[in-house]
């Protein structure tokens, strides 16, 4: 038992967990034909079958039941405000499965030249709203209300000690739906993690319909026709959003140190968090001189890299690897799209730079609160 807990604890270390997710993700949600080939070869498509649903759900439940026997796991999972997130794990899995299941089914139908499940013959296949829809909705609401009452009776809303501005709890966590942002704070300065990236998420989400000019797959579940867009959305939603929230909620403990789900939250736990900036790498390690006094001179390398990343990389990609996409989307769409994408990619990039080289900032100008 203990061995299993240790295994889980070490598997959930961010380096392992994130790397594992990154590698396996695109085989689960293949963005291209190549991935799709492997996806099927590895029989990942079975994941979206009914058996898989049953097995995985049983496993998940078993894991939670097993976990609740552990005091550390129980302490964190049964914290009232964390209960919805446990629920979220089940719900996300279930609905992902549901949509993927239907999508695969529809893909097969299309392949077989049959209409998709959602197909209907206008206006013959229409049904009346009264009473069919209204009634279904009504029953839904009643059941849901009943569920809400049961939830409320069963689980008291949290109320901790009265507010005390001079006594900060360790760790201090933002509301759970912002924990993804708080997780990003580890790798980015607040202006990026707290302001720029969230704004880009909102803008990016709003821009989806304008970026995705693929007319296929409107109004029914499908995967085949929308491989790239679904894979990208899934990556953003499941990895950069849900996964980070789960990590932030369950796996971040005192001093924002990382703790496995079965690990005791020891506020004395230490991690070697010494980091260096790119400028220090270059001037101190490479040139063996002190840091130049001039800020611009000091940070010129970082500035060049970032400029290159944002200014040279997109056109370069448009010319080479993403040529097709560029042609299909046109200049305006492509530019916005690619900037959003490479900005989102800075997160994993910075994660790995941190883990591998202890790199803190590529540009570090704390004098003007400008760190990147």
């Amino acid at each position: 038992m203990e061995g299993f807990k240790h295994l889980i604890d070490s598997l959930t270390k961010p380096t392992i967990l994130v790397t594992f997710t990154f590698i396996i993700f695109f085989f689960l949600f293949p963005p291209s034909d190549w991935f799709d080939k492997w996806h099927r070869r590895l029989r990942f498509n079975a994941l979206w079958g009914k058996k898989a649903l049953l097995i995985i759900n049983v496993l998940l439940v078993a894991f939670f039941i097993f976990g609740l026997g552990d005091p550390d796991f129980r302490a964190i999972v049964l914290k009232p405000d964390n209960v919805p997130i446990s629920g979220l794990i089940f719900l996300v899995f279930f609905f992902t499965w549901l949509s993927m299941n239907q999508a695969y089914k529809n893909d097969e139908l299309v392949e077989a030249g049959k209409p998709v499940d959602e197909h209907y013959d206008a206006p013959n296949d229409k049904v009346l709203v009264w009473p069919d829809l209204v009634y279904v909705e009504f029953i839904c609401l009643i059941l849901f209300s009943a569920f809400m009452m049961v939830w409320s009776i069963g689980l008291a809303a949290p109320l901790e000690e009265p507010a005390n501005p001079s006594e900060s709890p360790n760790p201090s966590k933002a509301p759970w739906y912002f924990l993804g942002l708080q997780e990003m704070l580890v790798y980015f300065d607040p202006w990026m993690a707290g302001v720029v990236l969230p704004s880009l998420i909102i803008v990016g989400l709003m821009a989806i319909p304008y970026m995705d000019n693929n007319p296929e797959g409107s109004g029914y579940y499908s995967y085949k026709d929308r491989k790239l867009s679904i894979a990208m959305f899934m990556f953003g939603w499941l990895v950069l959003w849900v996964l980070l929230i789960v990590i932030g909620t369950f796996l971040r403990g005192p001093n924002w140190n990382f703790f496995g789900p079965f690990e005791y939250w020891d506020s004395h736990k230490l991690e070697a968090l010494t980091n260096v900036n790119l400028s220090e790498f270059i001037y101190v390690k490479l040139f063996n001189t002190g840091l130049p006094g001039n800020i611009l001179l000091r940070e010129i390398w970082g500035l060049l890299i970032i400029l290159g990343y944002f200014m040279i990389l997109p056109p370069l990609l448009a010319k080479t690897w993403l040529k097709d996409m560029y042609l299909k989307m046109g200049v305006a769409r492509y530019s916005v799209f690619i900037v959003l994408i490479i900005t989102a990619l800075t997160l994993p990039i910075k994660m790995y730079l941190r883990w591998m080289f202890n790199l803190k900032y590529i540009i570090a100008i704390p004098e003007y609160f400008f760190n990147f």
């Binding site: 206008a122 006594e167 004395h268 230490l270």
Partner: protein, 190 residues
Amino acid sequence: MPDANKKKTATIKPVSPPPAALSQADDNTQVTRRSFFSWLSLGWLAFVAATGGFFTMMLRFFFPNVLFEPVQTFRAGYPEDYEAGEVDLRWKAKYATWIIRNDEGIYALSTTCTHLGCTPNWLVAEQKFKCPCHGSGFRKTGINFEGPAPRPLERFRIVLADDGQIVIDKTKKYQQEKGQWGDPEAFLKV
């Protein structure tokens, strides 16, 4: 858009002619581009300005002219009130601050232990701050050297006021491990 989605509505022609009161004037007036643009654009310009005024008002409304917050800055007398090499305890109780003067100048240390937030004591004989809770020790500079404290004590912003008095601003903290003690306002040169 697919044709199927189009609604089929019949356009019914109005039976009676529309009110004609101004229709003639409308017809007869030569809409010169200039007059059209000048009045309308002027109107919109003014309207946008007024709306801007409204939003400016909204914005300004959220910044009251006085604050009712507890005082976080205090005047700590003149630099001459502090003796070089001494740890001054007079503001410890009221503002949780030690003021220390060395040969170069003056700095203000927070009295909050970086371990669990207890208040250490200054031991003159041993020239160190010793936390009674878990035994963390800090040198006169605030650097931790023993016990569980993970990092040095924090320093507060310290500047001179117009009248030459020392002003301590507790809202701004400087942490040694972040290299902030080099900030000109973390240390008052005398």
